[in-house]
Symmetry: C2
Subunit: 384 residues, 2 copies
């Protein structure tokens, strides 16, 4: 396997983009990434597109062909492939693109993620189809309910408090005020978070990330080719993916996401680093409890002690290990299939020193993208 | 890139499987493939699953995690990835699995394809979302209508007749009588085909493949590893994928599928063969006109002369180049996302000499899987 670098990144606005269709959103991110890389579309050799449910959100399947078409790549007949793994679809697209370059099959490959969710009234029902529909969702356990069950178990076993969860939300909202592209650029107080209504007890409104429209694109190139395009390549040192039981009731312990543990340990091994070498991370805070579990399952702290990191400010923007400097899914917005790629965009900006007012000091970054309640996890390690 | 071989194949029944759910169908194909390979599930290193629209057909996304779960692979946490490209989803899964082994990333990988379509009343509407929904389908041009437009253009430009189309159907139905797993095991006469009602003029009922439930699985291994499992490996010499404009109105010529031309020329080059070296082929006859165009676009005959091959019996089971010995999509059944893998199963059985009463004499086989009206094409070349 050969070295792979990110040579360009792009990201659309995230939010309720009433004025934009799926095609517009994808193209806006793609054009930005091409400009960032100083690349012509004709140099692209393959495209991987992560998308969870265009079939249900916009009534359109086969979106890789659609993207080829609307990106002006159709004449080139390059392979364009959609991948799907719930809200880990973007991460899976990134991994496939990484593999396509690392294997030597292609030199320049696009990883895109996109979702348009605001055209339908039942966006949450559709998102919940990343859990086990027949055995969980059909019986009323949609995604917030399932994460509430996880949170309850974590609280009971490890003493995690509702206040800890709220602090994750407060931190991520604060970070988002420094991010021009974030959906929610407003600080919230701990009191506001704690007094927000329950969505699924113990998870309140401010514990739940908003699903929204958005797209992100990263352009990958082999290490050698990257040098022709950029002076600030960001290298992908590892990109790993693991699966788990789709339904919570089959897992050995719902307070741990084994897919995250498995993927991250493999990634550290491939990248030859320890968890403590990570300087900045974007993790999947679809619900605040997921961020606290991510601290633990990624090995940033011992199992059960995740809440300490948020209490002690370790993961704040000015802490030792800033997590979700972008604002995270909670405040940047969660455009479902776009999120895994969007996380990569943030880590690249941070490692390049292009993150503006939210810039942290970092050499090594990590992103964690999760599908559903942990049926899929993708971990990517980046370095300057 | 290293050599890749098929070491096991499995296929569920194809048809209206009222008694089986999505999970049952997938598992029935998977178990057959594992038994065929003499392999334990624990030896699998990765899974690629092709599926077009579980989101709409059964209300379930994230099906790769579901498949990991129900296949007993969840404990292993191996990466399981769903890919989608309309009814080329199976072919794309095969190609990703091929790349995963060829690149040296994995030794043993599963390519699966599955679809359960009979739980909904609007299966054709959903299938049509592989075309451009906003610009084609919304205006009434669903898949049969779009293929009818293609057929009309082909007839006008090259003199292809409705009788030629009917002969494709008659041939494929005849082949299916020899295939125990086919959906329609009944011979039809040319008269019956020609007198069937129009679905979208000039395409009649017997020009349209039935969409149905079904799943197929092939197990791939590196050339070296394959030898430990089988004495009759079938090698994949090339597996290529190309995209095109999703909508017909943007294409330079709707009587040619450029994605097929592009993917096949690349495949021949990689496999170092000519079209004339192909001894048997499974092509995507979702509509009979597609089979005639495939003869041309794959280079089996000059452009515009596809109908001659069916008139002269060249592609009959006892012809020089048997096409769709399985019965094809028309008579074996078209389980949408399963079809690309199902075609591979047939070619492997033919090259191994395990095709029973429909056995042909072949050293080199080819499969062609198409998404929608040609927005994606996957061509795979196999040899003994």
């Amino acid at each position: 396997m050969r070295g792979v670098a990110v040579i360009g990144v792009g990201c659309s606005k995230f939010g309720e983009l009433w004025e934009m269709g799926f095609r517009d959103i994808v193209i806006s991110a793609g054009v930005e990434a091409l400009e960032d890389a100083g690349l012509e579309g004709r140099e692209i050799e393959a495209v991987y597109a992560g998308n969870m449910s265009a079939g249900r959100y916009i009534g359109q399947e086969h979106i890789a062909s659609l993207i080829a078409d609307y990106s002006g790549l159709a004449d080139l007949h390059v392979p364009c492939t959609r991948v799907e793994a719930g809200d880990a679809s973007g991460g899976v697209a990134l991994r496939q693109a990484y593999m396509a370059v690392a294997s030597g099959m292609h030199d320049i490959v696009i990883a895109a993620g996109a979702e348009k969710v605001t055209d339908v009234p039942n966006a949450m029902e559709i998102l919940s189809s990343s859990a086990d529909v027949e055995w969980e969702v059909f019986n009323g356990a949609n995604l917030p309910a399932l994460y509430a069950i996880i949170a309850r178990a974590h609280m009971k076993k490890y003493g995690t408090k509702e206040e800890d969860l709220a602090m994750v939300s407060v931190k991520n909202h604060k970070n988002a005020t420094l991010n021009p592209k974030a959906m929610f650029k407003r600080e919230i107080s701990l009191e506001v978070a704690l007094n927000s209504p329950y969505v699924a007890e113990p998870l309140k409104l401010f514990d739940c990330a908003p699903i929204c429209d958005g797209a992100s694109v990263v352009i990958l190139a082999s290490e050698d080719v990257a040098k022709e395009y950029t002076d600030t390549p960001v290298y992908i040192k590892a990109c790993t993916q693991a699966s788990d039981y789709i339904a919570l009731h089959s897992r050995r312990d719902i307070t741990t996401m084994d897919a995250v543990v498995h993927a991250s340990r493999q990634a550290y091994k491939i990248a030859k680093i320890d968890p403590k070498d990570v300087d900045v991370a974007e993790v999947h805070d679809s619900f605040t409890i997921a961020e606290i579990m991510a601290y633990e399952d990624l090995g940033f702290v011992e199992k059960g002690r995740g809440a300490e990191l948020i209490r002690e400010g370790v993961t704040a923007l000015d802490g030792d290990l800033p997590v979700n400097p972008s604002g995270g899914l909670k405040a940047f917005g969660h455009a479902v299939g776009a999120t895994g790629v969007r996380q990569a965009v943030e880590i690249v900006l941070q490692l390049r020193g292009d993150a503006g007012k939210r810039q942290v000091d970092a050499e090594v970054g990590l992103s964690l993208n999760i599908g559903g309640t942990g049926g899929t996890a993708v971990v990517t390690i980046f370095s300057r």
